[in-house]
């Protein structure tokens, strides 16, 4: 008994220290070998302001939309949004035909909307052999072909050249607007390529350009990203070309699809759009945090006044609970929204409830003349079925809420259910294991002969 108690205590201390490390604002994150992860609080749209849009496949409901199409569409939007340089964009498929886009902290929602709407842009740009020596595939480049939204290129971080190619503006020879078809082909060596065909105008431009620039590379750029730069071996007059780029068959297929259908494999329309200004968000966060702390203090005072020593122990367990939960929120990470904070505060109530159930039971056993250690154990074991059953019912509700939020793209509902469910699960651990360990430890230390008053009996 004693040994187990000691082990529990050590385990709890280790957990709390780890949790405190995670919570510590100066936390450097985890960087082990190639594994890099920052640990920080992810704030939702309502707390830092931003844009949230729900897109739906703009097709009659009879038309099937495959999950691959939605996935491709998602990936394309993801790639475009990344050009905005936001820290935590969220782009996810919600249900069968919808894509949810959340862009916290965006300054100009109008620009973001344009970027999401924009069609994928294929460009052929003029390059020199010197250029291709410094440019990696996948790198973002600037061209003199201006897009409607004026997407800003983000400098790539991997290139060391002093006057890097990111500062150079390449001349666009032609764009994918003159394209008639695009498909995946495999050559005799098994390399996967994308074959394209031009219309009459495109064929003419392409033929003239390739005839004049034999021996030079031709840069192929999609959505301002470098795909490949083959060397022009001879003039191409048939209006057909092949894009090579070390593709996997999936990548080649995606590119072909994007080229064929403009940008997205399915047309998308905006069905919901929400913008929260940053001031409103900041204000809410500060107020809710303060309110949460005040609430916690009130509960702590109440518990000490009413339950005395066990109340104090329960308060310690409550602090452990708050620490562990917050650390977990940071670690997973759970996006903190206003309802999320409310869910967390509510779960404090749940955590306290478990302790109240136990202490009320303990008092009953003490009144029945049980000795203290035994009364504590009885209190825990008899209160357990109630705690278990009531929390399972809360978890059932959380699961249904989560499903509802997920299917409907309602991230606030999802955030709330997730924080409440996590809170309930952690509270089971703290209210039972932590409180019991602390209580026995305290009793062993203070050598209480008989102080029922400490227990409020």
């Amino acid at each position: 008994m004693k040994v187990r108690q000691g082990r529990h205590l050590i385990f709890i201390i280790i957990l709390v220290v780890a949790a405190l490390w995670v919570i510590w604002p100066g936390n450097p994150g985890i960087h082990i070998g190639s594994y890099n992860r920052d640990i920080r609080v992810v704030r939702g749209l309502d707390l830092q302001g931003g844009l949230r849009v729900l897109l739906e496949a703009d097709l009659p409901s009879e038309t099937d939309v495959t999950s691959e199409q939605m996935q491709t569409a998602r990936d394309i939007i993801d790639k475009r949004v990344n050009g905005l340089g936001l820290t935590e964009p969220l782009i996810q498929i919600a249900g069968g035909r919808r894509i949810l886009v959340e862009l916290p902290g965006i300054g100009d929602p109008q620009q973001a909307v344009n970027i999401i709407k924009e069609t994928g842009l294929l460009e052929f740009v003029q390059m020199t052999r010197a250029d291709i020596a410094t440019i990696n595939n996948g790198q973002v480049l600037q061209t003199d072909f201006e897009t409607a939204s004026g997407i800003q290129s983000t400098p790539a971080d991997s290139v060391g050249a002093a006057a890097g190619p990111e500062s150079k503006v390449f001349h666009t020879v032609m764009t994918g607007a003159e394209l008639t078809s695009a498909g995946v082909v495999t050559d005799q060596f098994g390399a996967i390529k994308v074959a394209i065909e031009f219309d009459e105008v495109g064929s003419k431009i392409f033929a003239d350009y390739t005839a004049a620039h034999i021996g030079e590379p031709l840069g192929i750029i999609f959505d301002k990203q470098m795909i490949s730069a083959p060397i022009i071996n001879s003039a191409i007059r048939q209006g057909k070309a092949v894009i090579e780029g070390n593709f996997t068959s999936e990548e080649a297929n995606n590119l072909a699809v994007q080229l064929r259908y403009g940008s997205l494999p399915v047309p998308l329309k905006f069905i919901e759009s929400k913008t929260v200004g940053p001031t409103l968000g900041q204000d809410s966060l500060r107020k809710s945090t303060n309110a949460g702390i005040i609430g916690l203090v009130l509960v702590i005072v109440f518990m000490i006044l009413y339950y005395r020593l066990p109340g104090l122990v329960a308060d310690l367990a409550l602090l452990v609970y708050a620490t562990l939960t917050f650390a977990l929120f940071k670690l997973i990470p759970v996006t903190l929204t206003l309802p999320g904070i409310a869910g967390f505060v509510l779960s404090i109530g749940v955590a306290v409830d478990a302790n109240i159930l136990i202490f009320e039971r303990m008092k009953e056993e003490l009144r029945n003349g049980e000795n203290l250690h035994h009364a504590i154990d009885l209190g825990f074991s008899r209160a357990w079925p109630s705690i278990r059953d009531s929390n399972i019912s809360t978890l059932i509700t959380c699961a249904i809420l989560y499903w509802f939020g997920n299917a409907f793209g309602a991230s606030i509902v999802k955030g709330f259910s997730l924080t409440l469910a996590l809170g309930v699960m952690i509270s089971l651990f703290t209210a039972i294991t932590v409180t019991r360990t602390f209580l026995h430890t305290v009793l062993d230390t203070i050598r209480r002969a008989d102080h029922p008053r400490l227990f409020g009996v």
């Binding site: 309502d46 739906e56 929602p109 109008q110 905006f270 069905i271 919901e272 759009s273 929400k274 913008t275 929260v276 200004g277 001031t279 409103l280 204000d283 809410s284 107020k287 809710s288 303060n290 309110a291 949460g292 005040i294 609430g295 009130l298 509960v299 109440f302 009413y306 206003l338 309802p339 409310a342 505060v345 509510l346 404090i348 109530g349 306290v352 409830d353 109240i356 159930l357 009320e360 009953e364 008899r382 079925p385 109630s386 059953d389 009531s390 929390n391 399972i392 019912s393 809360t394 059932i396 509700t397 249904i400 809420l401 499903w403 509802f404 409907f408 309602a410 606030i412 509902v413 709330f416």
Partner: protein, 305 residues
């Protein structure tokens, strides 16, 4: 406390609380936010501090052909304007029109736009979520009380208590909607679902005690057993409710205005949840055990005579 003995008084009190809300609901309906009806909401701050008259803002909407504008002032510098759902381009032209018309910069605090189809879908799904939660909880309680005689009664009594809480919350929302202009939005739905979870949470604790006592005290009359169990768990119910209410009150008083509606509904629901688990759920078990509905009409006849 003899709660079970006075059970009809407590049922009556519940009905007294529920009826005004239900009348409000019947008269005025539940004002639904754009989350469920579709439409747009634009909250703007007029940076020069001179807020135009709502009618002037409505005129700008009309000029642009955006239908159903409703405009309210909020606070010193802000205006909340609702209309049919508009897209980003319409919003942009609306803002530039407003800035030109009132000659001052406008900051968008919040802009929501929900298409009409998604609103209806959300409302349907909400109903589905409540239904599913009820079935899930009913199944769970029946399962966990399986060894007891009439295990299903516990589940159904818990669901009745839950419906009680839902009725209280929706009734209060209907009244608040009418008198304060609050609208039921996705957050309201979240609050409602939480109340459901809490209501059952509370009820189960009492039921659990009945289950436990029934094993020990086999000879005690069911009515007394239930009353004894309620009294045993009473302190816990009240203390738990107090702690939850303390945190909620802190959020209500010191929290931001964004969550005020949400927290109020939670407060009402948590209070109702505790009440119904003490004064409704368990006494319903007694009513069922005694099959008292057979006496209801007889008693009335006696009284009439």
């Amino acid at each position: 406390m003899n709660i079970v003995g006075k059970r009809y008084w407590y049922f009556g009190l519940s009905i007294l609380v529920i009826i005004p809300g239900m009348i409000g609901l019947a008269l005025w309906g539940l004002p639904l936010a754009i989350d469920f009806t579709g439409g747009s909401l634009l909250e703007m701050r007029f940076e020069a501090g001179i807020v135009p008259e709502p009618a002037e803002v409505v005129a700008v909407y009309d000029d642009l052909g955006i239908r159903d504008p409703q405009v309210q002032t909020a606070g010193e510098m802000d205006i909340v304007a609702r209309s049919v759902s508009i897209d980003e381009e319409q919003k942009a032209s609306l803002l530039s029109a407003l800035e030109a018309r009132f000659d001052q910069p406008i900051t968008v605090l919040r802009f929501d736009s929900v298409g009409p189809s998604i609103g209806i879908e959300a409302a349907e799904r909400a109903g589905g979520a409540v239904g599913m939660a009820s079935i899930g909880i009913l199944a769970f309680i029946t399962y966990s009380f399986w060894g007891m005689p009439n295990a299903h009664r516990y589940g159904i009594a818990a669901i009745i208590a839950m419906i009680h809480d839902v009725a209280v919350v929706i009734g209060v929302e209907a009244l608040l909607g009418h008198f304060l202009g609050w609208e039921a939005d996705a957050l309201f739905l979240t609050a409602l679902l939480t109340v459901i979870g809490f209501s059952v949470h509370d009820t189960i604790v009492v039921f659990d005690r009945i289950r436990e006592n029934r094993r020990i005290m086999r000879k005690v009359k069911f009515e007394d057993l239930v009353n004894y169990s309620i009294n045993q768990t009473m302190v816990r119910s009240i203390n738990t409710q107090l702690t939850v209410m303390l945190t909620l009150l802190a959020l209500l008083i010191f929290g931001g205005i964004t969550t005020r509606h949400f927290i109020t509904i939670l407060l009402v629901g948590v209070f109702s949840g505790t009440y119904s688990s003490i004064f409704n759920a368990s006494p319903i078990l007694v009513v069922w055990e005694n099959r008292e509905w057979q006496k209801w009409f007889r008693r009335r006849r006696v009284r009439a005579a």
